[in-house]
Symmetry: C2
Subunit: 434 residues, 2 copies
């Protein structure tokens, strides 16, 4: 009970500082829960002078020396980014250290190699904080639902874009104004690309899909569209059909047409979509995250909480730290991640989706028939149509049934060329309609 | 990889049958996830003739012989109730078997003794299915949040009462009619006592509180009120103040007045309460369950899903089975449950709560002052008052601030004796108001 477990902390930004604070504040509880006290062996940072709150004796710029130090048991990595994080984690595994990471980009890029290195060394790799901040999500997927077959994981996993879309809906503003407001309030970073272009959500989607489907999925396998093209008109059109616009990360197991489970594939995508206001995800506002899970036996589940922020993320890091530390005390490693299913990634073109399309058309006989024929010609079935005339023009609002994405985008391309169509005013995918 | 792990199944009702079915349907996936195939060694039932779907060679009435059979690795208990389940689990632990149980009554009654027996034998005891069916909840509490301090766990954990209260709100019916409807539709059992009187929810609350606060809490420590006294008037009054009535299981860590964490206590209670319709739990309708968790660092979290039913519960059982089986393959036991905190249970009388009280009073000068004085005399602060006159009578609707429950109930008792008070038409606790 008395020999402390020693932790190397890599990075000491917002999350790292809160990890240090919680380790100190809760040292008694952590020791009781783990069976041994936990002690910080060192904190690797680039600029030691910027961390006056951390005891100088702990600070080091030599992260590699820290992770391989013989007295270090566990490594907590909150640097982010691919390198040097990747090399440091590999060095830690080779040196027999277990790792807790919050690094979504790295896990989404190279998760399988990292898991393999951890398994080879007989140590743990946990990363609950990498997806949806404090929400316990990866452990439920890895363990609680390990006896079930997952069908879909649909989540709002990026707080910045959710805030921007929420504000667009509330104010009627366009994307540019809403982004400016988010930046001013600190909800968006100075360079918002990773968030608004969907890179952050795509990395999280890759991690979720890997765990949900026991299949290696990397960020490169994820179809990605951000929210910068979402217009005030899209948001208004969504409201007219009882929907709201959200940036969704969608991981689906798609059953082949022949119904043979062996031909199943995995479709993983991030894009804005209209969802009904009655859908549980529709009410998730501002910087909150929520993830909706559908499993064969468990049915529908939802997980909700804070997706970012120093303390929520640090809570997830410490939860993993307790698990990894308990395993270390017991002299074991926890269950690894399996990718035995090896399901192929289905390209977006072949992925079944539904579209909402708003058109300005000439209000004269035969236009609706011509438009409807164009959908039919591409094998796309129409679910609902609303036509509103105004003078010699009319607005057509069409929601399709599910069809391969390529057929839908080809239909829209063809509509744009039709003389009777004066403009395509809004196109967005639709999710969650029954 | 080839030697199968052998599972003894105790009980083969709704959940047990679905466990058998899922074990068969997913045998390939389970083997890949565990690292070894899983095989059913036997199924203990009272009446073998009632299970024509189970191969006769597997059926036995001798549950004790089954759990101690040398070839059995894991025991799944879905009998329910205290005995013989308790003795069978103890026998299983003594024989070195790990156990997965769905038995809330037993875990709430004697969880510590069972955990101690499992720890002594170096085997696992998991019971995710005992609370909130398919919702991954106990594992997040045990593990994901193990690095945090939990403040509150508030849940809708009984589908039958939630269905009844939802129907009362929708139809304006009283408890008796709504119960009759629930019974007819199969949402309530022929003897609905365990559900409507809150015993089921109290057992779950005890389990949640034990895990959340690292403290031994049994069903006997839980204050319990069912929903049979909830009237149509209560439900209508709730709607008038923007609330809805739910049966809540509430587990709180109460900080002592001196602010010393060492004097903290745990208050665990089950009772109907008004909650604002804007609260995340308010929208949880019908037979769904949801649990709201507040932690120091993680902030607010919510878990939502199906709380009962054969397949959802079987999914939770199988998730535990995979965890226990993986540990068995690795030759280890997972982390046990700690009760190191040993926080005392706070009696309901000393637990801070808020009340809603509706009174019919004589509409004459001084009545409001007299009523208000009665609250003040008991040290209860009033948050809001609404007075509506009608003829010579008036309705007073009062919502209090937080005060010890004993002070509130003493206030209500005193109000009933006041000549100016013609009747107390509705009293319910209020939760979730800011």
């Amino acid at each position: 009970m008395t020999t402390p477990l020693k932790v190397a902390l890599l990075g000491c930004g917002t999350v790292g500082s809160d990890v240090l604070r919680l380790l100190e504040d809760q040292s008694g509880d952590l020791a009781a829960r783990i069976g041994r006290p936990v002690e910080v062996a060192g904190v690797a940072v680039r600029r030691p002078d910027r961390h006056p709150d951390v005891p100088a004796a702990l600070l080091t710029t030599d992260a590699e020396a820290l992770v391989t130090r013989p007295d270090v048991d566990l490594v907590v990595e909150v640097i982010g980014g691919i390198e040097p994080a990747r090399s440091l984690l590999m060095a830690a595994f080779e040196a027999g250290k277990s790792v807790v990471s919050a690094n979504k980009a790295l896990l989404a890029d190279d998760g399988s190699a990292l898991h393999a290195a951890a398994a080879k060394a007989g140590v743990d790799l946990y990363y609950e904080a990498a997806v949806a901040g404090a929400i316990p999500l990866l452990r439920p997927l890895r363990e609680s639902l390990a006896g079930d077959q997952l069908r879909r994981v649909v989540g709002i996993v990026n707080g910045t874009t959710n805030y921007i879309l929420s504000r667009m809906a509330e104010t009627g503003h366009g994307f540019t104004e809403a982004l400016a407001e988010a930046t001013e309030l600190g909800y968006a970073e100075a360079d918002p690309t990773a968030d608004v272009d969907g890179f952050d959500a795509a990395a999280k989607a890759a991690i979720l899909a890997s765990l949900a489907f026991h299949t290696e999925v990397t960020a490169a396998d994820v179809y990605r569209e951000g929210i910068s093209a979402v217009t005030a008109t899209d948001v208004a059109r969504a409201a007219e059909i009882g929907c709201t616009v959200k940036l969704l990360a969608i991981c689906e197991r798609v059953t082949a047409d022949d119904g043979d489970a062996a031909s199943d594939s995995v479709a993983v995508r991030v894009h804005p979509a209209m969802i009904p206001t009655t859908h549980p995800l529709a009410a998730v506002g501002g910087a909150f995250n929520a993830v909706f899970v559908e499993a064969e036996a468990a049915g529908q589940l939802m997980f909700y909480g804070q997706g970012a922020g120093g303390r929520p993320t640090a809570s997830a890091v410490l939860g993993d730290l307790v698990a990894v530390a308990r395993n270390r005390v017991a002299g074991v490693a926890g269950p690894g991640v399996t990718t035995y299913a090896g399901l192929p990634a289905r390209p977006i073109a072949e992925t079944p989706t539904r579209y909402h399309v708003s058109l300005d058309v000439a209000d004269k006989p035969g236009v609706l028939a011509t438009v409807a024929q164009e959908f039919a010609r591409h094998g796309v079935s129409i679910a609902t149509v609303r036509q509103d005339g105004h003078g010699d023009a009319a607005t057509l609002v069409i929601v399709t049934h599910s069809a391969p994405d390529a057929a839908l985008s080809a239909t829209v391309a063809a509509l744009r060329e039709m003389p009777a169509v004066r403009g395509v005013t809004s196109i967005l995918r639709v999710e969650g309609l029954s």
